[in-house]
Amino acid sequence: MAIDVRHNQSDAFKDMMANTSQQDAPPRFSITRILLSNEFGLLVLIVLFATIFATISPAFLSKFSLYALGRTAAVNIMIGFSMMVVIITGGLNLSVGAIGVSAAMFSGLLMESFGMPWPLAVAGGLAVGAALGAINGIIIVRTGLHSFIITLATMSIFFGIMIFLTHAESYRGISPVFTGFGRMKLFSIISPLLLVTIVVALGLSVLFRFTALGREFLATGANERAAELSGIRVQRMITYCHMLSGVLAGVAGLMLVSRTGAAIPSMAGQLGQDWLLPAFLGPVLGGTLLTGGRVSVLGTLLGSFLVTMLTTGLLLMQVGAFWVQTYLGLLLLFAVLVDLVRRSYLQRRKLI
């Protein structure tokens, strides 16, 4: 094709753009839009709750408390990312916990039983994460079934095999360098784990914003058929997303190993179910569309951080550790309801 159209007058084009707005599209940088954005709302909530907690319990702002908060948040955000990269394809991954623990246990095995240096063991663990994610992805694209039921099954299978192989025993012979990393304090309040999470967040942002691969993930999630007919290998994209999810779950599992100094089969609860709530809270609060095709890395990060902060704060205020789960459930409900109102408000404004 050789239509040379590049020399048309660009002014005429701009003119046309300016004059022909059929619907008034919201300007890109309007204040209202920023104020109504998810990320801003989360930021406000974070500041608000931080202030409340700090007022009620000054210990909240102690160096140790902030350090512990950052360290826990680092893991939770990573779990959120692990779910997020699958949600963008319009699917979900119930097996994040099972994969995370399996990856961590494999690393533990490599370190304890084979005496492998920790970087190799970590690589091995992440490879297991990727492989299990790939299994999910391949089954999903081959059968054409929804990821919900597939990952529900594999969650049971992965976890069951892991428990069978490890006899539910922990690995405690973890390299001191590796555990030292998880216990290190930078400037006496920052955990290196948080830095890992931030690096991963930046990596994901670059992926979705500045690479063809990331854009193809999003296109696949938004409309699989259209994406395929536009020349995207959609099945491969979906498999990659599940692999990435597996790797990120593995990273989260390894962070926990590094923090606690042991690889424990029960660290994500029965079948890894304990990770499900944090995994969904982050992306859902952060405005990632559950039907796929739209993502907010920053939103997920802030969402997971908010959840971690609320949990920490509530525990600190001694409202009863047992009730925390109830509050998190209510928070999720509240968040989706607010999102509903916000969305319909934006829609109405656009129409009028």
């Binding site: 599209a25 500045f210 690479t211 058929r225 995207i232 290998r233 095709g293 739209r294």
Partner: protein
């Protein structure tokens, strides 16, 4: 048209409906008579679908009065309209697939008493009456998922009639029927008419309208171009004139012959996993080859098989004379530079959730991506903007969501996408579905211009005038086989006759469709 004076069943008077910035209906009127079939016609955007939505209760009019059997009719929801006697048979199927025919027909009556046990034997017996009335030869206990599209449609009609619908609205009922099924449907509609039912027939196939309808109402720009006027005495051109306000403009391009040019794409005795057999087809540089056929002839499916979405099980595909195996659409686009503009923009062509820029950029992302530099919006914009500009896509900005653009502009983006991808072969499937006349004319010129610049174009359309206006050569398909081809003389009458002969003349085509297969 019967000459007896029929009773008015439904009347809409001075219906006005405005949407922000648009007057969709401006004092529109329509009158439906007992025992007649009434055609509602209009271009896309003429207000036809708004009027249907007002009658079926989806929208409420700003002003105007509707009456049904002499009583004021003000439906506040689709459900309400149905309950008050407006039976609707939509394009999308509104049946429960796993339920039996009988249960589907009587679902409404059953659900009124949620705790009263169902007597299936009685139900099947009652359903039998309706099936007999419509001449449907099927067991009432059969799940509707096992029925053909045509039969399902008849079940929907039975369902509407069983609810004592006063008028029956058929929205593009023949869109996915074969010609034989259409004949059966028309026979039933005629019988219903003689039984006194009032039918409203919405279709864009003017031939069908002329065959079956008695009266016609044409809308143009939201107003009546004509109201409930007898169809007798109006020929096709007259109807078209009413619809578009002038004669149909068929560009008067001279016949071209590009068969001397390089053969860009060639199919030899191709069979596909979908059931195509012995397909022979060639496409030359700078040529527009038309692929004509009725719905269900397997044209879009063949296009997708060429693209590598469906497997080619036999025969060979040649690109520039070299045998190739296209394993995926990604290969077709990336390696072989073949593009496909889908007939189903919303679910296959575009990503409505994403911006114009994202949509135009999809096929070129990989090409623009560079290991050492980020793939920025700016880079994509620099590459694609000239094409969007060239096609005069009307959008406030490139960041606008695709879903907010009009049908015509969406279609322009679907084409711009492939221009930006610099394809050598472009398959265009039903280019003028859901777009206005002006954009249609524009697209026709664009397609012609593209071919003049060397792009090989395979045009799929069911719109005969469009086909005859654009194609250099017309390949006729039926039942997943090529029935033959004719070079286009652009004389409408002889061409359309020739095409229909090819479709119907099974015996003649048998030889033509399977020429010396190596």
């Amino acid at each position: 048209m019967s000459d007896t004076i029929s009773k008015t069943v439904f009347h809409a008077d001075n219906i006005t409906k405005t949407f922000p910035g648009v007057v969709a209906l401006d004092e529109a009127r329509i009158t439906l008579l007992e025992g007649s079939i009434h055609a509602l016609l209009g271009e896309n955007g003429a207000g036809k679908s708004t009027l249907i939505k007002v009658i079926t209760g989806v929208h409420q009019p700003d002003s105007g009065i509707m009456t049904l059997n002499g009583q004021v009719f003000e439906p506040h929801s689709t459900r309400d309209a149905i309950a008050k006697g407006v039976g609707v048979v939509h394009q999308e199927r509104n049946l429960i697939p796993r339920f039996s025919i009988a249960e589907n027909i009587f679902l409404e009556k059953l659900s009124a008493h949620p705790m009263r046990p169902i007597n299936y034997r009685q139900l099947f017996r009652d359903a039998r009456k309706w099936l007999d009335l419509l001449g449907i030869d099927a067991d009432p206990s059969l799940p509707v998922s096992r029925l053909s599209v045509a039969k399902t449609q008849l079940v929907e009609i039975a369902k509407a009639l069983s609810l004592n619908s006063k008028i029956l609205l058929l929205d593009e009922p023949t869109a996915s029927l074969t010609s034989h099924e259409t004949d059966t449907l028309f026979a039933i509609l005629r019988r219903l008419k003689s039984d006194g039912v009032s039918l409203m027939f919405v279709s864009h196939k003017l031939e069908e309208v002329q065959e079956i309808c008695d009266q016609v109402t044409v809308l143009r720009d939201g107003r009546n171009a004509c109201e409930s006027r007898p169809l007798a005495g109006l020929d096709r051109q007259a109807v078209v004139r009413l619809m578009i306000g002038r004669n149909e403009q068929i560009p008067d391009w001279s016949a071209r012959d590009r068969s001397g040019e390089e053969t860009v794409l060639e199919l030899k005795n191709v069979a596909t996993s979908l059931g195509h057999k012995g397909i022979d087809l060639s496409l030359h540089k700078g040529e527009i080859a038309g692929l004509y056929g009725l719905v269900g002839a397997g044209r879009s499916e063949l296009a997708k098989a060429i693209l590598g979405k469906y497997a080619i099980t036999d025969g060979s595909v040649l690109l520039h004379g070299k045998k190739v195996e296209i394993k995926s659409v990604a290969d077709a686009v990336g390696k072989y530079r073949i593009g496909y503009v889908s007939e189903d923009r919303k679910s296959e062509g575009l990503i409505l959730l994403h911006s114009v820029l994202e949509n135009v950029g999809v096929p070129v992302w990989r090409r623009l991506a560079n290991l050492f530099a980020p793939l920025t919006n700016r880079a994509i914009r620099e590459h694609t903007e000239p094409y969007i500009r060239k096609l005069e896509v009307r959008t406030p900005s490139l960041d606008q969501n695709m879903g907010n653009l009009s049908g015509g502009n969406q279609q322009k983006v679907s084409v711009a996408k492939w221009l930006a991808a610099e394809v050598q072969i472009l398959i265009i499937d039903e280019p003028s579905v859901g777009i206005d006349i002006k954009t249609k004319a524009y697209l026709h010129e664009l397609i012609r211009e593209l071919s003049d610049q060397g792009t090989a174009i395979l045009l799929i359309t069911s719109d005969m005038p469009e086909m005859i206006a654009l194609a250099d050569r017309i390949i006729v398909m039926n039942d997943y086989q090529v029935r033959g081809e004719i070079s286009n003389t652009r004389v409408y009458d002889t061409m359309s006759q020739g095409i229909m002969n090819l479709i119907q003349g099974e015996d003649m085509s048998a030889e033509e469709a399977a020429p010396a297969a190596s």
